[in-house]
């Protein structure tokens, strides 16, 4: 079996652009998804059931339906409704963010609830308000515990951004499919794409490992 490196070289400018776009989509998804996830997680933790209800259903919907379906709905339905035309990049960012937020909300909730009740009691007994206790005592500890599951979620998000190819967002997988279509070859485009994703995910877990070690307190 021959392996045509010349194909990869020919497409390398597009692959680089695609990689940058994948990084951009993932970062946007991570950032928006995290902020939204914190908000939804706190929403779900409200003691009043009726107020928590919309957040519960948000999580149920976005966790319970395929991201693939969500991307199609948002690309062909939601985005045209909002801006009057389709836009692959906008649709991908929205879909990735909304989807990740559902998972991240649960990670936040689990992280916060895993902190011993005594921590909140100690903080409150010193005169701190609920918000101060959350900010200075609970969240910093919860955040440390959330790093591994958040890292997992971010890695999933990078990989799932490849689904954006289906709505012609020119990221890595899109160019892989273009290459495959032009040359009728399998190994070169898809292996190249796989290796690029692998480099991205390994880099991310490396960064998260450093962060986790930095936050150790012994």
């Amino acid at each position: 079996m021959d392996f045509r490196f010349d194909m990869i070289i020919e497409y390398s400018p597009y692959l680089i652009k695609g990689t940058l776009l994948t990084i951009g989509l993932s970062l946007a998804g991570i950032l928006i998804g995290t902020v939204l996830g914190l908000f939804i997680g706190l929403g779900k933790m409200q003691r009043r059931r009726l107020l928590a209800w919309p957040f519960v259903w948000y999580i149920t919907f976005f966790r319970g339906t395929p991201l693939f379906v969500q991307i199609l709905l948002i690309h062909f339905g939601v985005v045209p409704m909002l801006i009057g035309q389709t836009n692959g990049i906008v649709a991908t960012i929205i879909a990735l963010s909304l989807n990740a937020a559902a998972y991240i909300a649960e990670i936040f909730r689990a992280g916060i609830q895993s902190i011993d009740r005594g921590q909140m009691e100690a903080a409150r007994s010193l005169g701190m308000t609920h918000v101060q206790a959350m900010r200075y005592v609970i969240l910093p500890q919860a955040f440390k515990r959330m790093i591994p599951p958040l890292g997992n979620e971010f890695i999933v998000l990078i990989k799932e951004s490849s689904l954006a190819a289906i709505v012609a967002t020119p990221e890595i997988m899109y160019w892989g499919r273009v290459m495959a279509g032009k040359y009728y070859r399998v190994w070169e485009p898809y292996l190249t794409a796989a290796i690029i994703y692998l480099i991205l995910t390994i880099s991310l877990s490396f960064l998260l490992n450093i962060l986790e070690r930095r936050l150790k307190t012994e």
Binding site: E121, A122, A123, S125
Partner: protein, 240 residues
């Protein structure tokens, strides 16, 4: 200083406190004893509203904390609490544990908070541990830091919830010594404990609780040497 009137507390259908009446005078050390499940910890936790109060009133320096309009955070600034399981903040150093509330709640300058913190650490004999993290300390050291943390807010009242129950026996003494010193300095305190020797030595008054009620209260010597009620006698015969 503390006035508890007909305090009642239920968890679901279970009645934990059945009408407690206590008055604590300034500089008084009140020790609460009783079998587990007698409601003594719940009673203590109601004094700074860590438990919601089902019925009755708790007044801290004339402020009724059961009144929805009173600011509980302000009251808590004046009421320090020490927990059975220390509840130190594990992500902060010993010094940060002590200065956090003075900085964020009282808003005093960092320099002042640290020097006050150092002073308190000296008082509990841990000035060399200022930059250590709680995980590296022994149980007795943790509890002494917890006491220093509560004192950093310069409270007028200190509550102790079984402060030595989670400690190895050889560390009980060092913690009790710090509490005794506070008593000598005239701190108003309510102490829930199983340390009968301590109750006898330090308490101005001992309260015996059982079944969510105060069964008997008296001077330590009276209650230990001449208990009036059967339940007090039965309890003391088991623990002394």
């Amino acid at each position: 200083m503390i006035k508890v009137e007909n305090l009642q507390k239920t968890f679901g259908s279970h009645k934990v406190l059945n009408g407690i009446n206590v008055v604590v005078q300034p500089q008084e050390v009140v020790v609460v004893i009783g079998p587990s499940g007698s409601g003594k910890s719940t009673f203590l936790r109601c004094i700074n509203l860590l438990e919601t109060i089902t019925d009755g009133h708790v007044l801290i320096e004339e402020v009724d904390i059961t009144d929805k309009s009173s600011n509980i955070n302000k009251v808590r600034e004046e009421v320090g609490m020490v927990f059975q399981h220390f509840n130190l903040f594990p992500h902060k150093t010993v010094m940060e544990n002590i200065t956090l509330a003075p900085l964020k709640v009282r808003g005093i300058p960092e320099q002042q908070a640290r020097s006050k913190g150092m002073e308190l650490l000296k008082k509990v004999g841990l000035e060399d541990k200022a930059e250590a993290y709680p995980d590296s300390l022994s149980g007795g050291q943790k509890q002494r830091v917890a006491i220093a943390r509560a004192l950093a807010m310069e409270p007028k009242i200190m509550l102790f919830d079984e402060p030595t129950s989670a400690l190895d026996p050889e560390m009980v003494g060092e913690v009790l010594e710090v509490i005794k010193q506070l008593a000598r300095e005239g701190m108003t305190m309510v102490v829930v404990t199983h340390e009968m020797g301590f109750a006898r030595e330090v308490g101005d008054r001992v309260i015996f609780m059982d079944g969510g009620l105060i069964i008997e209260e008296n001077k330590p010597r009276e209650i230990f040497e001449n208990p009036q009620h059967e339940r007090t006698k039965a309890f003391l015969s088991k623990v002394l």
